[in-house]
Symmetry: C2
């Protein structure tokens, strides 16, 4: 089905243009006209795939989240069926920090969406879904840590997961504006994880 | 000098209109025309006080920061010349969380500026200045805590201060999108402070 493949590829290419524009100028830099120019398409072609800017922004967000989630949940522990909860968690969470070019582009986009979501209820609902997915990943590993005796049993894993995600979003924005270096941010994440895995 | 007072009052009124527009629609909702309409002035009057949108955004940010800083540094410990570092810090930092209507409006504005600063170098420089001011306030109290034996002496107070500010910005954005309740955010701050004041 070459047409279907083409359809998906084109929508992804348009989303990637939206990411690039967002990373340079924020959400306000994303217009259907600018996206068309960046993607090397006509305005009519972009409008064929996305009837509104909101539909395009939503798809671009979902595709970004999918790609990040795939990375965060892909194990780097081949052959080890019982990897340490601390290592699984750290491996997943460093994927959310702007530590290389790809993650810096993603960080620009997620920070822009975070601010956009504070004034756009539909987008806020999307972000809460992503947060729930990540929260579940984190609480699962913290509970594994509790069972293994690496994390205090009295820790409220849900609250700890939400705090960790807030910290990551704050660190991400602060790296982008230069308050933290990427290395500082990674160190702050490690310090925080060390405080959770204390037993 | 009534003219000078009037000048300052009018600039402040324009900045307050910019905050209101930002809190409802993000930075992209701030146009000279919308600000004029919200402030009940003509476009020409607004342009008399601010020649560009950037000049207006910068002033609005500085005025907001000034007001918040005044609150965070105003002591609520009358008569107590040696208030506990933990209490001084907590009192200052809860002023940055969206726990009532005024602070929620401010949180919308600071979150919008945070995202804006990631793509606007001049604004990033402004935010880094604010972060340095807050960082100094936090490190001062953490060092007082170290002298009094409430904070571990090996703690890197500068790193701890930066991490705390990142956490606060993340929590703020997450309250606005509904991942955290305001009470959750306050609890997360308290948990984090308890981990710093451990000795």
């Amino acid at each position: 089905m070459p047409r279907k493949v083409d359809h998906h590829t084109r929508r992804a290419a348009i989303a990637e243009s939206a990411w690039r524009l967002t990373s340079h100028g924020g959400i306000e830099a994303v217009t259907m006209r600018h996206v068309a120019a960046d993607a090397g398409m006509s305005l009519g072609q972009v409008q064929h795939y996305f009837t509104t800017k909101d539909a395009l922004l939503t798809f671009a967000y979902q595709l970004l989240t999918e790609r990040i989630t795939t990375r965060t949940t892909t194990t780097r522990h081949p052959g080890d069926e019982e990897p340490e909860p601390h290592d699984v968690l750290r491996h997943a969470l460093v994927e959310l920090l702007p530590l290389d070019e790809q993650r810096t582009l993603e960080a620009h986009v997620t920070t822009a969406y975070l601010a956009h979501a504070t004034v756009t209820p539909d987008m806020a609902a999307q972000l809460r879904k992503t947060h729930t997915t990540l929260e579940n990943l984190i609480t699962h590993q913290l509970r594994r840590g509790q069972h293994r005796g690496n994390v205090p049993v009295h820790l409220d894993t849900t609250r700890a997961a939400r705090t960790l995600l807030a910290l990551l979003d704050g660190l991400t924005a602060h790296v982008l504006i230069g308050t933290h270096t990427p290395t500082d941010a990674e160190h702050a994440l490690d310090t925080h994880l060390d405080e959770l895995f204390t037993t």
